[in-house]
Symmetry: D2
Subunit: 293 residues, 4 copies
């Protein structure tokens, strides 16, 4: 019996880079939170502190800033920026075999030629992985997504017909508030490049539309309808993973005060909350490889 | 020498009430975080635990829910809801002499007749105080405001000509990013009721416009211009208080990588940050009374 | 009628400075979050952007680091460090008339000669103000304190005998959990220097002791007992201000599952929460001056 | 081509249960944050909103409270409570095939027979999975751990000999602060029950001891030493996974102020930060099965 080193990775997390493109009359603002994670020949640094194979996380940070200068022009999607960075780390360092670059993009609304307001907490996300060739010849993967898309339906949501046991007290309902904060991540049918912004806009719109249109009997049903609709309108998407908390809104009992409450007054609860996670995919989706690494 | 009880107050904080108005075809959603604070004949509970003068914070919470049912119709501004609650606590309980009701309102964007997205972190705020008559006969005060209005100018901001001492290393600059998260609170020339929503929209627009239009030599100058413009377009506002962090964006030195950086690549810093606080008011503003209680 | 500049101040917030004293065999670690706020002849920067009277917040930050080198030896209390910094800004800059230096100190437990664990979220705080002479000749004020001291009594807490109105549903109880996170700030009978660490230790111990020993009929009663005991054991303290949320723990109704619950199973609620704020002081306490500025 | 449902699970997250054991003279306090996640025959609810196979998350919450009454006696480790809950959901519901119960335990220090202080942010964690039999006959897995163990060495840390490329500016150092917040999770050689508290205490002590004792040439080396030492002193542990941010402390350049800085004054940085993740395991560790589900 011996103790050995297992899976490991390291990198620089949460590099807050802001890029201003000043080419035209209007400035273009790109506001990112970039995280890098690398794996490779890293036994030395773990076992003896020999760092000969280690690209410092400080260098990773510098690389992100330098690439932001050269690769983040106006309207450049985060997918190509992340992929380019991931490939750089593996291609330039023989000791690094796999790299993941994750980006969270903050949205700003234009107020003027060089004035902006940050008007939403919703973010666009990407995770680009570049690594050893898989059996199908693939060595690069892109997972696009969004987070903190907060949605609420104040009608068309029921919940009943569920299992009851000795611990069940929840009354069945044919009218409740359904509210959630969507986290979505999707991978693609092929690794080839594409118009990432158009796919993002279409996928996001599909998620929102399905949330609004679905008459819901469970948050799972809404989640599946959202994923299915995204796949329907985006043939380039192979698989979508959704995580959706059930942000409970409980109708307040106003009877003690001589008042009715026909689903008009709710308390928004913090904890606990339901958490629904599900995957919707095509039956001919390619192998994920290292997409979710 | 004796130990005595000084100023004190108590209440229920962060009551998360959501009101759905279902009168018309379209649901109207009002999403609030309400905090109550009361003062009065409270020596008993402090000194001996005699609670005869104490209206429980649980009752305060119930009152907020009950009033939400009856007072929060479609488009009702938070100013009148807060004022009505504050007055209730004082008028209904002889032991309570002063009440403050503070509300943070979360904004939702309509997606359909009963579907909504929460598309901003910016909030609208109010603090309504109802208390003992002041010498001018006033017994009710309203302070309206907003918070987390995040703004950024990527040009038209300089900073130079400041004091230098032995601890100064900051280089003067004629081109920097100016970014902030505005917190604004304003009180009124008279206690009379008004179209609160219109004032809010005008004041907010004035703050944003002045931020965008001001060629800035200091964040203080921008702050004053914002407050001044709000007073210019809203004669009903007597005084506005602004707190604006200077959210630093530092240009990254790319020279070591053979790259120039003409204010194109910045690192968004977390801490420390500048914090600028200032008041802009009319020289004939009435006494504040308990407005800021 | 004219628009004018009212109260204003500015500074650098949340300077995260860590000082390692390496004089002896054991390193001594001091971990601080320092915030500076200055006021003075600042009309120019507000009205025209003339910064001739402005000491940049970047310089304030540098000053904190430089003073940390020279003034933060082993075991130096934050009171003297804050006071020394506040005095420096006013004394060295004719345009600065008043300075507040607030410090939050994070505690570390020694694990070895140069090894430490951060074993509590509780912090020690200070706010030192240096400003224009008051009528009593005072120009320096110290407010010491602590924050996030989380305490819980699982017995000896009752709540009954309170006001009931049409919105009251809370049942009276003779046995409940009483839990809070204490924020305390105290000022002194005289501005003279003293053994700040000893006062802090005594005051903190008094607060904890009174919380543990008080058979409570209301959180207000507990708050007052804590403040009173701090003043009893610390004659140098003139006034103490306490803010104590009532962190509600509600007994869960287990009857539907055929179980009793004799105050054994509770749900810890997030929001809303009670918030109790109170002041305990000596009847011969000196005027506060700018202590709470 | 068809769109299909992939992996999915659902549950109730962050159930904040506090258990007071009142058997003896001294109350014993157990403060938990429990999250449940279930998988099984859930196609119906996703595809058609048929909830016949769904045990509501509200019922899961009730179950946690009821089990807290009966299973959480004095000193009961969270491992057995989590395992018992996970088994219950699968055994009692034919439609549920796999359950994970994750618990975060908050520590309280005794101040008196029924008085407590929460004196650390560090938490103890467990994830218990109960599911379909694996090929080796195992159907239950326990992963124990801890989080937010914040440690700092102010000496005995170097970093040099690393890769340099065109983006490297970091100077090599033979003296730096090494600080981190340890998250550790470990699984066991066998599924049998054991004295969980003793293992926890031993593993935690080993992690701390190795952090203190290791003369470090990289955070990876420290991480590996910590994992190795935990496995050395706990033969029952098969594998340990560690995630350790490198909480950077940068020495401040005081030369502009005529001062030296021999690693005495540091700025504690927020973002970005290094993130080191690694696994240390025995070469004869059993298959993990669903331990990390």
């Amino acid at each position: 019996m011996a103790v050995i080193l297992g899976d490991n990775r390291y990198g620089k997390a949460e590099i807050r880079v802001v890029r201003v493109a000043r080419d035209g009359e209007d400035h273009v603002l790109t506001d990112l939170n970039v995280s890098v994670s690398l794996a490779g020949d890293l036994a030395g640094t773990h076992l003896t502190g020999d760092n000969a194979a280690v690209l410092p996380t400080d260098t990773q940070k510098n690389t992100v800033f330098a690439f932001a200068k050269e690769q983040l022009g106006s309207g450049q999607p985060i997918e190509t920026f992340a992929a380019c960075l991931a490939k750089h780390f593996v291609d330039s360092q023989p000791t690094i075999h796999c790299a993941r670059v994750s980006i969270v993009e903050y949205a700003w609304q234009r107020l003027g030629p060089h004035s902006f307001a940050r008007t939403t907490n919703e973010t666009r996300t990407v995770s680009a992985v570049y690594g050893p060739d898989q059996s199908d010849g693939t060595s690069a993967w892109i997972v696009s997504g969004l987070a903190d898309l907060v949605l609420l339906n104040s009608a068309d949501s029921e919940f009943h017909g569920y299992l009851k046991d000795g611990y069940t007290t929840l009354p069945e309902t044919t009218d409740r508030i359904l509210a959630t904060a969507v986290e979505a991540r999707w991978r693609y049918m092929s690794p080839s490049s594409r118009d990432w912004n158009t796919t993002f806009d279409r996928a996001r719109a599909a998620l929102v539309t399905a949330f609004v249109r679905t008459y819901s009997y469970s948050l799972q049903q809404t989640l599946y309808a959202m994923g299915q609709h995204a796949l329907d309108v985006c043939p380039e998407i192979a698989e979508i993973r959704l995580a959706m908390p059930n942000k409970h809104h409980f109708a307040v009992d106003l009877a003690p005060f001589g008042l009715t409450n026909d689903n008009e007054v709710f308390v928004a609860a913090d904890r606990p909350y339901g958490l629904i996670e599900g995957t919707v995919l095509r039956d001919d989706a390619p192998e994920p490889g290292l997409a979710w690494w």
